[in-house]
């Protein structure tokens, strides 16, 4: 496997992919409570995110040049590893279809209300196919290229909206129980769980020789940036439109920014957010498609899978249309199935694997395959 990705690119991709859910799903879902409960839920989710980051760090650092599948083979043997990968493949494809719908949902709710989903699917499919032709390296480099401008633009939005934020909207007393707060935190975790997907690219990383301290710094900065953006976006959204209104909107941050001006000079610049969300969705769809194809590749013990791009694309197109026939189905699928499934695949199973890894640690992991 070619080593073409750096740690920085991996973490940048995670952050870019998380941008759209940070601006749409998370504020909308956290609005079930109020501002205080949202902040507490984000705080609770931070604990689990740090644990996941430590897990990812352990595997990436202690099993250099190995991807998730190779780690599974070392721990459980090939048949069990393939069974787990099959499960991950089905999950990744379902996640991909939901992500496709969420991308059309964002566009249709903002600027393209009368455009049919099929057209949006095909446009995105062609873009992803083009990106895949260029290789995974291009996708990761693109994420590296766009992250900083995206974060700067979001920061400008947030800072510009501070004078209009109503603190009484944000600092309402929390009325939710601990279990309800944990359920709210699950929505943040379902997004942050993408950090785990980076393990699937462990064999593509070229700078394993970097010091442990530097690697930990990268990981820490990624988690910190994620939590900061989630916190700022949620506070600003709730502070501008209130938690009740945010809960009923599909793109709450976008709506909240409609009345914001920068230094009373630039107004109505919220369509830039649509571009940011489109870029984030594009990279998210690339990531999930890549994960799905990797699972197929590992399952069938293939070296190259370029021949499958077209049938896979058509399959996902019709799977998306069949699985969810309308936006209502997407909402149902996401809330009832995907969030819980994400938590199982990105938190529960990886931690079980970590426990098994430490159980078998007496045998050096790198020698098991020899």
């Amino acid at each position: 496997m070619k080593k073409v990705i750096t740690f920085r690119q991996l973490f940048y991709l995670f952050l870019v992919v998380s941008i759209t859910p940070m601006l749409t799903v998370i504020p909308s879902e956290l609005a079930v409570g109020n501002g205080s409960s949202a902040i507490i839920s984000i705080g609770l989710s931070l604990i689990a995110i740090i644990m996941l980051a430590v897990l990812v760090g352990i595997f990436l650092y202690e099993c250099p040049n190995k991807n998730f599948y190779e780690i599974l083979i070392d721990l459980f043997g090939r048949p069990v590893a393939k069974g787990i990968i099959l499960f991950y493949g089905i999950w990744a494809m379902t996640l991909l279809t939901t992500k496709l719908w969420q991308y059309t949902w964002n566009l249709q709710n903002s600027i393209l209300a009368n455009t049919r989903v099929q057209l949006l699917f095909i446009v995105m499919g062609l873009l992803v196919l083009y990106a895949f032709q260029k290789g995974i390296r291009t996708i990761f480099r693109f994420a590296e290229f766009v992250l900083v401008p995206i974060l700067i633009i979001i920061l400008i939005y947030v800072v510009s909206s501070f004078p209009n934020v109503r603190l009484d909207y944000v600092l309402e007393p929390n009325q939710m129980s601990f279990s309800e707060l944990c359920i709210q935190a699950g929505y943040v975790l379902a997004v942050s769980g993408n950090l785990f997907l980076l393990l699937l690219y462990g064999d593509n990383i070229k700078d394993h020789s970097k010091s442990k301290k530097l690697f930990a710094r990268f990981l820490g900065a990624t988690v910190l940036a994620f939590i900061l953006v989630v916190l700022l976006v949620t506070i600003v959204t709730f502070g501008l439109v209130g938690s009740h209104a945010a809960g009923s909107l599909a793109t709450p941050f976008y709506i909240a920014m409609k009345g914001i001006s920068v230094l009373n000079v630039v107004e109505h610049f919220e369509p830039i957010l649509i571009v940011l969300m489109f870029l984030s969705d594009f990279l998210g769809i690339c990531l999930y498609a890549s994960v799905s194809l990797r699972c197929v590749k590992w399952l069938c013990s293939l070296r190259k899978i370029r021949f499958l791009y077209v049938p896979f694309g058509v399959f996902i197109y019709y799977l998306s249309l069949t699985l969810c026939r309308s936006q209502f189905d997407v909402e149902y699928l996401y809330h009832v199935v995907i969030v819980k499934w994400n938590l199982i695949m990105e938190f529960v199973i990886p931690f079980v694997i970590l426990i098994v890894y430490y159980g078998k640690r007496k045998i050096p992991l790198r020698d098991v395959t020899n």
């Binding site: 949902w105 249709q108 709710n109 209300a113 009368n114 455009t115 049919r116 989903v117 099929q118 197929v296 069938c300 013990s301 293939l302 021949f307 499958l308 077209v310 049938p311 896979f312 058509v314 399959f315 197109y317 019709y318 799977l319 249309l321 069949t322 026939r325 309308s326 936006q327 209502f328």
Partner: protein, 70 residues
């Protein structure tokens, strides 16, 4: 749309035919995904509420008011 996709799949099959014939596993995988896509395409009969967000809301509202019986 399905016809267009079938033509694209056949074109891909022709262009990658040599690679697929060399490794039967690849050929079977290609056929499995292609057939699954075509079957889903045949099964998909459209969105009863309409294919854009406006159509969905208007369709759902009509349904709730009893104007349309699905």
């Amino acid at each position: 749309m399905l016809y267009v996709f079938v033509i694209i799949i056949i074109a891909t099959l022709i262009t990658t035919g040599k690679e697929l014939l060399e490794d039967k596993k690849k050929l079977y995988l290609f056929l499995v995904f292609s057939l699954a896509a075509i079957i889903l395409g045949i099964l998909y009969t459209g969105n009863p509420y309409g294919n854009s967000v406006m159509e969905s809301y208007v369709g759902a509202e009509s349904c709730l008011k009893g104007k349309v019986c699905l």
